[in-house]
C-alpha cells in the first residue's frame, strides 16, 4: 500500500510543485498591493485550490483506467481493493497537506497584515488569543474545528468514492456496451439519489432522539453536541465510502477492461 501511495505522489509531484510555485508567486504579487491584496489572496486561494484539488484527485483515477499508462499500475500484482484504497489514502493525505499549506499562508499573511498596520506584534497577546480559542472562550473552539474537519473529510471521501465507482462501472460492467459513458453518469446520479434517500430515512428515524438533545442545549453548542449532531452524517458517509470502495475493488478485480 505504501509503495502505491508513494507512486501516486511521485506522479503528482509536478502538479504539487506547480501549484505551490503559483500560490507563492500570486501571494507575493498581491502582497505588493498592501493588506487588501493579502486579504484577497486568503479569500480567493481556498476555492481555487479546492477546484484544482478536485480535478487532480479525479484525474488520478480516470487517467489510470482510461489511458494506456494505466497498464503500469494494473499489470502489478496488487488487488483492485488495494489499488483503489491507495488512491483514497493519497487523496486524503493530499487534502490534509493542502489544509496545512493554507494554514501556513494564513499565518504569513496574518502577520503581514498586522505588521503593515504599524502595530507591534504582541506575542503574549497572540498566545493568549490562541489559548482562549482552545479553551472555547469565543463560543468556538479547537474541538469545533476538529468535528467540522472530520465531517468535511468523511463527506469528501464519500464523494470521491462515488465518482471512482461511477468510473469503474464504466470500464467494467458497461465497457462492452454502447453509450457506456452516459450509462455510468446515470448510475452516478442513481447512486447519489439512492444514498441521499437512505440517509434521509436514517435521519428521520433518529431525529426524535437528536431533537431531545437539542432542546436541552443552553447557550452555544458544545463540540460534543456538535459531534453528536453530525454523527449520522459522518456515519452515513463512512458506510457509503466502505461499500462503494468494496464494490469498486470487486469490479477492478473481476470485471475490468482497460
Amino acid at each position: 500500500m505504501l509503495k502505491l501511495i508513494k507512486l501516486e505522489f511521485m506522479r503528482k509531484s509536478k502538479f504539487i510543485a506547480m501549484t505551490l510555485i503559483t500560490a507563492v508567486a500570486l501571494n507575493m504579487y498581491l502582497i505588493t498591493r498592501g493588506p487588501a491584496g493579502s486579504t484577497m489572496f486568503l479569500v480567493l486561494f481556498p476555492p481555487a485550490l479546492f477546484v484544482a484539488y478536485l480535478i487532480d484527485i479525479i484525474k488520478m483515477y480516470s487517467e489510470d483506467i482510461n489511458k494506456k499508462t494505466g497498464y503500469m499500475l494494473f499489470m502489478t500484482p496488487n488487488s483492485g481493493y488495494k489499488i483503489i484504497s491507495s488512491k483514497l489514502f493519497t487523496a486524503v493525505l493530499e487534502g490534509l497537506a493542502i489544509l496545512l499549506i493554507y494554514f501556513i499562508f494564513i499565518l504569513i499573511n496574518g502577520a503581514y497584515i498586522i505588521i503593515s498596520t504599524g502595530a507591534e506584534v504582541d506575542y503574549s497577546q497572540l498566545i493568549s488569543v490562541v489559548d482562549r480559542f482552545i479553551s472555547g472562550n469565543f463560543g468556538f473552539s479547537l474541538g469545533h474545528v476538529f468535528v467540522i474537519l472530520l465531517t468535511a473529510l468523511t463527506l469528501l471521501i464519500a464523494f470521491i468514492t462515488t465518482v471512482y465507482t461511477a468510473m469503474t462501472i464504466r470500464k467494467s460492467i458497461f465497457s462492452e456496451i454502447k453509450f457506456g459513458g452516459l450509462l455510468s453518469f446515470i448510475i452516478f446520479l442513481l447512486i447519489n439519489w439512492a444514498l441521499s434517500s437512505a440517509s434521509n430515512k436514517f435521519f428521520d428515524i433518529i431525529s426524535p432522539y437528536y431533537d431531545s438533545i437539542g432542546s436541552g442545549a443552553a447557550g452555544g453548542i458544545t463540540p460534543e453536541k456538535l459531534a453528536m449532531g453530525l454523527l449520522p452524517m459522518i456515519a452515513v458517509s463512512i458506510i457509503q465510502a466502505i461499500v462503494l470502495t468494496g464494490f469498486s475493488g470487486y469490479l477492478l478485480e473481476k470485471k475490468i477492461n482497460l
Partner: protein, 235 residues
Amino acid sequence: MSKLNLLQINDLTKKYYNKTALSNVSLNFEPGKIYGLLGPNGSGKTTLMKVVAGLHKQTSGNVLINDEELSYKTKAYVSYMPTENFMYDSFKVIDIVKFYNDMYKDFRIDYALNLINEININLNYKISNLSSGQVAKLKSVIALSRDASIYMLDEPLNGVDVLSRDAIMDIITKSNNENKVIIISTHLVSEIEKILDTVIFLKDGIVEVFGDAEELRQSRQLSVEGLYKEVFRNA
C-alpha cells in the same frame, strides 16, 4: 506447478460490443519454448495477451497460469510488454526502473541497469523525451528484466532500427530457459521466425494454425513467413 501446462487457455471468448475478438480459443503453452503469435491487425493477438495479463476480462472460458485461475496474484508470474507506450511521460528512465523494483519481487535491477546501459539510454532522460525507437527498446528491456514465468511481448520490434532488433532478439533468446514461456506477437514474421519454436496463427479471433515451427516448415515445404502469407493472403 505442472511442467506441461504453465499457461492453459480453455475455450476463451472475448466480445466487444457486437465484435467477437476471440472465439473459443484453446491453447496450451509449455515451458522452455518461444511462441510466435502471428496474425494481421485485428486478429485478436493483443486481446489474447491482455486477457492473460489481467488487463481485460474474458467474456467466457478460462485461463490457468501455474494451475491458478487468473487473478491479481497470477500477475506476479506474467511479464507483459504492451505494444503501446504505457510508461508515465513525466517519469525519468530511472524512475521506471525503481517502480518495477518496488512492484515486482522478481525484478533484477542490476540486470536492467546493465541492459539499459547496453542500449545507450541515459537513466536521467525523461520518457517524454525518448524517441519511439528508444521507448520500444526500453519497454522490452524492462519486461525482460523480470525473472517471470511467462513473458508476453506485443510487437517488440515495432519502431526499432535493424541493429537494435538484433539486440532485442538476443535479449529475448537469453531470457529463455526450460522454466519459462515466451510469447511474441508480431507481423514482422521474417525477422522473428528464426527464434520461434512454435507458431500460432490467429485469424478473426480463431486459431488457424498451431504447431511446431520446424515441423510446419518441413511438412508444408514453406518458411513460417511463406505459410503466413498463404494463410492470410485473403484475410
